[in-house]
Amino acid sequence: MTLLSSRARATAGTAPAAGAGGSPKPGRGRRRSWAWTAAAPLFLVVGLAFGLPALAMADGAFTVGDTYGLGNVTRSVEGAYRTALLGSVELSALTAAAGTLFGLLLAQAVVTSRSRALREAVLTASGVLANFGGVPLAFAFVATLGNAGVLTTRLGLDAHGWSLYGFWGLALTYLYFLVPLMVLTVAPALDGLRVQWREAARDCGASTWQYWRHIGVPVLLPTLLGGFVLLFGSAFAAYATAAAMVGSSVPLVTLQIADALSGNVLVGQENVALALSLDMVVVAALVMAVHLPLQRRSTRWLA
């Protein structure tokens, strides 16, 4: 990667196509401005549809009355909002951990299988199901395990105290898109575990356990951790599934923001909603700050 880019840079400096015979410097300058112009529309759209709302959010979150202050931000981590934040973190951490484990097992089962058809089918299905969040997913689970759901009525689950419209029901539902997401994340990494490494380990007398302990897991660890935080982020940001399924009976930060935005709670809560959004951004930023370096690290061995 570094080799490639340094070579690319070298060609960029001396490329005869760029500056017909002139010194390399003006050619590079011309090319540079051309490149920034090509990227300008992207920056414009992102600035309008993302930068402006982000600024508005920060501005509103720190506005109390007519001046700036921390009132909204402190209110957003107290009382019911605190419960909602913690509820979101708890649900996301739990589902991300379960999703990482099951996704890894499923991906390993598929990657080591001899059937190419199975492999293609599972990876394609994962591609669809990882995007199958939101409203349709909520209704599929309501039809299956809701109060009048097929499994609930046929198996008499409600007699055992089962309710889909709570923490565990939501966790079960989230796994439906988190596990496929993990399969998509980890399958390339499992593919990248070279056969030669196993053979080398075996030739040196390593057992299967020792191979995984000293080679497999250390190589996969950045991918697994990166996948975990990715799943955490997806579960943390999810709103549609929960809104369509449980209303606001489970304390989640996304549901609280929506309530506050639509004025369901009290008039004048918009700025607290913006402060809550800011809290979410902080959590999501932490997630990405962990995820991106890990992703870069995981490509080092598995490239």
Partner: protein, 330 residues
């Protein structure tokens, strides 16, 4: 090195020459005809995967079957149960009425058309802004690439609910602060309920990280610099070099990016519902209040539609790129 990374398919193709030493090391002394298991197999893929599992794995075999069974049950049961829920109605027996009612349901056509229009506009916008940027980052300057990567990662940091909160605040500026300026008309226009352009902007930003990544991966697999320089040497202009030399090599990545965007927009609920518009997903939730079976039926159909679309795209894109790789790798 870059070619090896490009995709699993490329790795599969270019892995072929490395295979013989691997096989030799695994079963070094047994002649081909005497091999206990691999001898009768003529498929190289089979002997490759046999070599890939050098450790005896009977337990692994049962473990795999158990994992696949559990996964199969977990992923299929909700779909089957939804089908049963919509087809087998208590008191009526088996009936298709949940599905036949769909087209007559009030608001169905309007919301579906709105979602499709939004999806088409979003795909067009996001490709239009990200293709030139991704190619430029690949071709030219060292400085652009990291900046673009950061910009295209930022939307992942702001969850859709938070983005909507910010967008709603910006949209309120219109009536509050700008009502005397010509800009006010723009604020009204982007919120036209028949075609809310503000949703297209929001969706483009939300899709950008995935689209940029897909395009970047696609570009990594082809030698853009050589392609463009060859086209330029043949007298092509910059846009023409881009359209007729680079884009045809990106077919898979473009399909991939378009599909991701399409799936995102067709299923999007958060931004639209909080800003008060009614595309398809929002309509499903509203319809569920009066008719739960109808909304489950629509949900199921939308999943099947997505699935068919994806399969069509992958077979289309897959066949083309495979034949392309077959030609270049030899």
């Amino acid at each position: 090195m870059a070619r090896l990374n490009s995709s699993s398919r490329a790795r599969f193709a270019s892995g072929a020459p490395q295979r013989p030493p691997t096989v030799d090391r695994t079963r070094p002394l047994v002649p081909r005809g005497l091999r206990p298991r691999g001898g009768s197999r003529k498929s190289t893929a089979a002997s490759l995967s046999a070599a890939a599992r050098p450790f005896g794995s009977l337990a692994g075999g049962y473990g795999r079957i158990a994992v696949l069974l559990v996964a199969g049950v977990y992923f299929l049961v909700p779909l089957l149960a939804s089908a049963v829920f919509t087809l087998d109605i208590p008191g009526q027996g088996l009936t298709l009425s949940s599905y036949t009612r769909i087209f007559a349901a009030p608001g169905f056509t309007a919301s579906l058309l709105l979602s499709l229009a939004l999806a088409a506009a979003t795909v067009a916008l996001v490709l239009l802004i990200s293709i030139p940027a991704a190619v430029a980052a690949r071709l030219a300057v060292p400085g652009l690439r990291p900046v673009l990567e950061v910009v295209c990662t930022l939307p992942l940091v702001v969850p859709p609910v938070a983005l909507t909160a910010g967008l709603g605040t910006v949209l309120r500026w219109g009536p509050e602060k700008l009502s005397t300026t010509p800009l006010y008309q723009t604020f009204v226009a982007v919120q036209n309920p028949d075609f809310p352009f503000v949703l297209v902007l929001a969706y483009a930003v939300m899709a950008l990280p995935f689209v940029y990544r897909a395009l970047d991966a696609g570009l990594r697999a082809v030698d853009v610099r050589t392609l463009v320089e060859a086209a330029r040497d043949c007298g092509a202009s910059w846009p023409r070099a881009l359209v007729s030399a680079v884009l045809p090599n990106l077919r898979g990545a473009l399909l991939n990016a378009s599909f991701l965007t399409l799936a995102l927009v067709l299923g999007e609920f958060t931004v639209a519902s909080l800003l008060g518009f009614q595309p398809f997903a929002v309509w499903i939730v509203q319809a569920s209040g009066s008719d739960a079976r109808l909304s489950v039926a629509v949900s199921l159909l939308s999943l099947l539609l997505t699935w068919v679309l994806l399969l069509a795209l992958t077979t289309l894109g897959g066949r083309r790129s495979r034949s392309f790789e077959g030609k270049t790798s030899r």
